[in-house]
C-alpha cells in the first residue's frame, strides 16, 4: 500500500489541493482530512497547507489551533508523527506550540508574492533529508505575515540545536530574525516553513522543481523510497 499523507482542509485553507498534488507527485497518496473531525484516517504524516484558516481572524492560525483535527495532530506529533506546516500551516504549528516563536506582519507591511531563494541549513529532519547541506533552492513565498519572531533565548536555542532548517538568501522579504524561513522541533518530525514548496514541483507552473524534495524526503525517511 502506498504511503498515506494527510492534507488538512480548514475553512479558508487555499493551498490544500496544491499540497495534495505535491504529495501525489512525490509518489505518496494524499488523504483529505477535514478540520471538524479528529480522525487522522490512518495517515502516516500530515501537511498543514497554506491559506487563511478561519479567515485568520483574531491572529493567524489562532483559531485553527482549536480544530478537532489539531487535537489529534498535536498528540501524534508529540510522539514523533511527521508534520509539515506550510505558511498558514507554520502559523498554526506555532499557535499550537508544536514549534516555538510566532509569525508577524511582514516588515514591509504588504502581502508579498515572490520567487525566493533559500539556503537549506538542516538536512537531518524528516522533511529535508533529501537536500544537501547548504543547498540553495528557489520556491515561491507568498504571505502577509511571515516575519519569524522569537525571544533571544529561543533564537539561541534554535541556532545552537541546528533547528533552523532554511534561511532566506540574497533578499530579506519580511524581517524574520536571522532570516529564518523555516524551523523544526527538537526531534525533527515537525517542520514549519513560510515559503511554499508545493508551488515548486513542476517548472511549468513554478519557479523550479526544488519543492518536491520536501515531499520526497518524508517518503525516503518513512519507507526508504
Amino acid at each position: 500500500m502506498s504511503f498515506r499523507i494527510g492534507v488538512v482542509t480548514f475553512p479558508g485553507s487555499l493551498d490544500d489541493r496544491d499540497a495534495a498534488r505535491a504529495v501525489e507527485m512525490a509518489g505518496a497518496t494524499a488523504v483529505p482530512l477535514f478540520h471538524a473531525s479528529d480522525d487522522l484516517k490512518e495517515v502516516e504524516a500530515v501537511v498543514l497547507p497554506g491559506g487563511f484558516s478561519y479567515g485568520d481572524y483574531l491572529r493567524c492560525g489562532a483559531i485553527a489551533r482549536f480544530a478537532p483535527i489539531m487535537n489529534s495532530i498535536v498528540t501524534a506529533a508529540e510522539h514523533g508523527f511527521p508534520v509539515l506546516g506550510i505558511c498558514n500551516g507554520f502559523q498554526v504549528l506555532c499557535e499550537s506550540h508544536l514549534l516555538p516563536g510566532a509569525l508577524t506582519r511582514n516588515q514591509g507591511l504588504h502581502f508579498l508574492c515572490r520567487d525566493q531563494k533559500l539556503k537549506i541549513e538542516n538536512t537531518e529532519t524528516m522533511w529535508t533529508n533529501g537536500f544537501t547541506q547548504g543547498q540553495e533552492i528557489v520556491i515561491p513565498l507568498k504571505n502577509g505575515e511571515g516575519s519569524f519572531q522569537c525571544d533571544d533565548e529561543t533564537l539561541e536555542m534554535l541556532e545552537s540545536e541546528g533547528r533552523v532548517i532554511a534561511r532566506y538568501v540574497d533578499f530579506d522579504p519580511n524581517g524574520s530574525r536571522n532570516l529564518i524561513a523555516g524551523i523544526s522541533n527538537e526531534r525533527g518530525n515537525v517542520v514549519g516553513l513560510m515559503p511554499h514548496p508545493e508551488h515548486a514541483i513542476e517548472s511549468l507552473t513554478g519557479p523550479s522543481e526544488d519543492g518536491l524534495i520536501f515531499f520526497k524526503s518524508i517518503l525516503h525517511q518513512m519507507v526508504g523510497r
Binding site: D18, G50, F52, D56, C113, K142, E198, T205
Partner: protein, 741 residues
C-alpha cells in the same frame, strides 16, 4: 415607522414619495404608477429605483449594446450568451469557461480598500453563479497622475483591497493593467475580471422555475452596508456643489466568500439547485425580481425571514442592502435537507425565505403584510430605455487638425536618455510593486502571469488544455477616435492571446465613460460600441457579456473613454506556450509587422504633454493574419512579446529584463522605430536555423518581417547606444517603490 403596505398604497394614493431622492425621474415615477395602477409602496419604490438605476438597468446603453447581438458572428463556441450573469464558452474536452469584467469605480474612490475588495468579490460570485469554479482573476486599474496626492491615497488601498480579497479566496491574480492619466483623478477605474471553469453539464442559470420550489437565501447575514450603494453611487456624478448621496460602501469578508464558494461547488456537484443568483448590486431586489422574471414569474417572499446583522433594518433597507457574500438559490423541496446539510458543513447560514408560485406576480410580505406586489419583469427587465442625445464633440476635429511637435532623439546619447526616461515613466515602469501583492501561484495551474502578454491557466492536468486571458485598452486612441480605439483595443487583446500561443475565442468588455447626459460622452460611447461590434463581427469573436460604467467624471471633465476589452483564448497544450522573455543567447530577434511614424496617443507623446491628432487605423484583416502567423509559428518562437504601450523600446526592455539576457539590434529611423506604437507588431526570438520558416510564414500571411538583431550579452545595444542590464533594471524598477513606498 409604519409599514407602507399595498393596502396602504391603495388607500393613500396621493402620499408624497421621495422618488427624486432615490434617483428616479418624474416620468419614470409616473411609469411605475402606470404599471401598478396605483402609487408604489415604499418597498416597491426602493426596488424600482435601484433596478432602474443606470448601473442595473443599462438604460442609457441598452440601445447601443444590442449591436453585440445584432452583429454577433456565428460561433459554435458560445454556450451561454449575453444576459446571464456571465457568458459561457466551450473550450473542448467537455470543459466550459465563463469570464466577465465588472467595474467598481465609484466605491473604490470613496473607500479604496473595501471598494476594490468587494469589486473582486462581486465578479467572483457572478462566475460562481454560473456553476463554475473560479480559477483566476485580473485587475485592469486606472488612476490619476502617479505623483498626485489623491493617487497616493487611492492606489495603495485599491491594490491592497484587490490583493486582500483575491488572495484570501485562493484565486491567482494573473494579469491586468495599471495606467495613469490625469482624467482619472477623482475617478479611479477598478475593473475586475474573473474566469471560471466547469463541465458542460454543470452550467447553472438564474431562473426560478417550478411552483412550490423553495427560495433559499444563503451566505452572510444582511446588514446595513451599501444600502443604495450600487445604484446611487454609480449613477451620480461627483459634484462638490450638490449635496452628496454617498451611503456606506459595502464591506467585504473574503473568508465568508471562500467558504461560500466551497459550499456552492459542493451543492452544484450534488445537483441540488434549479436556479441560482448572487446578490450584488441592488441585493435582494435584484435577485428576487431577476430570478422570477427569468423564470415563470411567480414568487412569494417572506421578508422577515431574512437573517439580519442589524435587526433595526426596515423592509425597504433589507430589499436594498448590498451586504456581500450572499446567494439566492431555487431548490426543489425534496433536495432541501441535503442542501441545508452542505451549508451546515461549511458553517454557512441558509434560510428558506419563500417559494416559487403559479402566478406572474412577485409578492413580498413582511410579518404577514403584503408590501410588494409587482410583475417582476417590469422591475428586472423592462426598465426605462433612453435614446440619449449624441453629438460629436468639437475636440475631435480640432485634434485632427492639430500640428504636433514631439522631440525625437537621434544621437546615441539622446536615444539612451529617452529610453531611460520612457521606461521609468509610471505607465511603462515595472509593476512588480503592485503584482507582488497578489498571489499568482495558488491553485498550482498558473502557467503565465503578469507581466506576460496574457495570463494562462492550465485547465486539465492530464491533457494540458489551458486558457489564456488578456485585457487591454488604449484610452488615448479612444479619445481621438473611439470607433478605431475600440477596434484597436480588441486587436491588441487578441494579439496578446496569440502571442502566448493561444487561439482567441471570445470577448468580454468593461466600458468606462463619463456622464451619458453629456452628448459628447454619449457619442464616444456609441462609437465605441459600434467599433467593438464591427470588430467582433469581422474577427469572428462573439461578445459574451460585459459591463458599462457611466458617470466617471468630476464636474464637466469626463475620463478618457476607456473600453477595457478582455479576450479569452484556448491552448491545446500549455507546455507549448510562448513566454515573453529572451531565454537564450545566440537567437535572432525578428520584428513582425511594419512601423509608421504616427506618434498620436503614444506614451512618448504623452511624456511631452501631447496626445496627438489622428489615432492609428486598425487593419483587422491583417491582425487576423498575424494571429494565424503567430499560432502557426509557435513551434519556432522561443520568446514573443507584443509591441504596444511604449513601443518597441518598452518591448525590447521587457524581453531583455525578464531573464536578464541582453540583445543587440540595429534599427533605421531609430526614434520612430523605438517609440512609435503602430499596432499589429510582435517581437519574436527564433533560432537562426529557423530563418527560412520565418520568411515563409511572412510570405504566407503577407506580413512584413524584419530581422533586427540577436540575443546575448549583458547589455541592450541599439545601433550605437548601449544600455547595461543593470542600468535598465534600475530605471525600470525604481519608480513604483519611490512613489508608493
Amino acid at each position: 415607522m409604519s409599514l407602507d403596505t399595498v393596502t396602504n398604497a391603495q388607500n393613500n394614493p396621493d402620499a408624497s414619495q421621495p422618488w427624486a431622492e432615490l434617483g428616479l425621474k418624474e416620468d419614470e415615477y409616473a411609469r411605475i404608477k402606470n404599471i401598478l395602477g396605483r402609487r408604489p409602496t415604499s418597498s416597491e419604490l426602493a426596488m424600482y429605483s435601484v433596478m432602474w438605476s443606470e448601473h442595473c438597468s443599462y438604460k442609457s446603453s441598452k440601445v447601443h449594446l444590442k449591436q453585440f447581438g445584432e452583429k454577433a458572428p456565428k460561433s459554435d463556441a458560445l454556450l451561454v450568451g449575453i444576459g446571464e450573469n456571465a457568458g459561457v464558452v466551450d473550450i473542448g474536452q467537455n470543459y466550459a469557461v465563463t469570464f466577465k469584467i465588472e467595474s467598481h469605480n465609484h466605491p473604490s474612490f470613496v473607500e479604496p480598500y473595501q471598494g476594490a475588495a468587494t469589486g473582486v468579490g462581486g465578479i467572483v460570485r457572478d462566475i460562481l453563479t454560473m456553476g463554475a469554479r473560479p480559477i483566476a482573476v485580473m485587475d485592469p486599474l486606472r488612476f490619476g497622475l502617479a505623483d498626485a496626492e489623491d493617487t497616493r491615497r487611492v492606489l495603495p488601498g485599491i491594490i491592497a483591497g484587490v490583493g486582500g480579497y483575491g488572495n484570501c479566496l485562493g484565486l491567482p491574480n494573473i494579469g491586468g493593467e495599471v495606467v495613469f492619466d490625469e482624467t482619472y483623478a477623482g475617478n479611479p477605474l477598478v475593473n475586475a475580471l474573473c474566469v471560471g471553469v466547469m463541465k458542460h453539464e454543470d452550467i447553472k442559470l438564474a431562473k426560478a422555475h417550478g411552483a412550490g420550489n423553495l427560495v433559499v437565501l444563503f451566505g452572510a447575514k444582511t446588514g446595513g452596508d451599501g444600502i443604495g450603494g450600487v445604484s446611487v453611487l454609480a449613477s451620480e456624478t461627483f459634484n462638490a456643489a450638490k449635496p452628496t448621496k454617498r451611503p456606506s460602501v459595502q464591506v467585504g469578508d473574503p473568508f465568508a466568500e471562500k467558504v461560500l464558494i466551497e459550499c456552492c461547488l459542493e451543492i452544484f456537484h450534488a445537483d441540488l439547485v434549479v436556479g441560482i443568483q448572487d446578490l450584488g448590486g441592488a441585493g435582494l431586489s435584484c435577485a428576487t425580481s431577476e430570478l422570477a422574471s427569468a423564470g415563470s414569474g411567480g414568487m412569494e417572499i417572506e421578508l422577515e425571514k431574512v437573517p439580519l446583522r442589524d435587526p433595526s433594518l426596515s423592509p425597504e433597507e433589507i430589499l436594498m442592502s448590498e451586504s456581500q457574500e450572499r446567494m439566492c438559490a431555487i431548490v426543489e423541496p425534496k433536495h432541501i435537507k441535503q442542501f441545508m446539510a452542505i451549508c451546515k458543513k461549511w458553517d454557512v447560514t441558509a434560510t428558506v425565505i419563500g417559494e416559487v408560485t403559479e402566478g406572474e406576480r412577485l409578492h413580498i410580505s413582511f410579518n404577514g403584510e403584503l408590501i410588494v406586489d409587482v410583475p417582476p419583469r417590469t422591475v428586472a427587465h423592462d426598465g426605462p430605455v433612453y435614446n440619449r442625445p449624441i453629438a460629436k464633440p468639437a475636440y475631435v476635429e480640432e485634434r485632427a487638425k492639430a500640428v504636433i511637435n514631439i522631440p525625437m532623439p537621434t544621437s546615441a546619447e539622446d536615444v539612451k536618455a529617452a529610453i531611460l526616461k520612457l521606461i521609468a515613466s509610471p505607465n511603462i515602469a515595472d509593476k512588480s510593486w503592485v503584482t507582488s501583492q497578489y498571489d499568482k501561484y495558488v491553485q498550482g495551474n498558473s502557467v503565465l502571469a503578469q507581466p506576460e502578454d496574457s495570463g494562462m491557466i492550465r485547465i486539465d492536468e492530464k491533457t494540458n488544455l489551458g486558457v489564456a486571458i488578456s485585457t487591454d485598452a488604449n484610452a488615448r486612441w479612444s479619445y481621438l477616435d473611439p470607433y478605431e480605439g475600440a477596434k484597436l483595443a480588441l486587436a491588441e487583446s487578441m494579439r496578446n492571446i496569440a502571442t502566448t500561443g493561444a487561439k482567441p475565442l471570445a470577448v468580454t468588455n468593461c466600458l468606462n465613460f463619463g456622464s451619458p447626459e453629456d452628448p459628447g460622452v454619449m457619442w464616444q460611447f456609441a462609437e465605441t460600441v459600434r467599433g467593438l461590434a464591427d470588430a467582433c463581427l469581422e474577427l469572428g469573436l462573439p461578445v459574451t457579456g460585459g459591463n458599462v460604467s457611466f458617470y466617471n467624471q468630476t464636474g464637466s471633465v469626463a475620463i478618457l473613454p476607456t473600453p477595457v476589452i478582455g479576450v479569452l483564448g484556448v491552448i491545446q497544450d500549455v507546455r507549448k506556450r510562448t513566454p515573453m522573455g529572451i531565454n537564450k543567447s545566440g537567437s535572432d530577434l525578428w520584428l513582425i509587422g511594419d512601423v509608421d511614424s504616427n506618434m498620436s496617443g503614444s506614451e512618448w507623446a504623452y511624456l511631452h504633454g501631447e496626445i496627438g491628432n489622428l489615432s492609428p487605423k486598425s487593419d483587422l484583416a491583417k491582425e487576423a493574419r498575424l494571429v494565424d502567423l503567430l499560432l502557426e509559428g509557435q513551434e519556432i518562437f522561443e520568446a514573443a512579446h507584443d509591441v504596444s504601450n511604449g513601443g518597441l523600446a518598452a518591448t525590447l526592455i521587457e524581453t531583455v529584463l525578464k531573464n536578464k539576457i541582453g540583445a543587440s539590434v540595429t534599427l533605421s529611423d531609430v526614434a520612430v522605430a523605438l517609440f512609435s506604437e503602430t499596432p499589429g507588431r510582435v517581437l519574436v526570438a527564433i533560432d537562426p536555423n529557423h530563418t527560412n520558416e520565418m520568411v515563409a510564414l511572412a510570405g504566407k500571411y503577407q506580413i512584413a518581417v524584419n530581422k533586427i538583431g540577436t540575443t546575448g550579452g549583458d547589455e541592450l545595444v541599439i545601433n550605437d547606444t548601449k544600455l547595461s542590464i543593470t542600468e535598465l533594471s534600475k530605471a525600470h524598477t525604481e519608480t513604483f517603490p519611490k512613489l508608493f513606498g
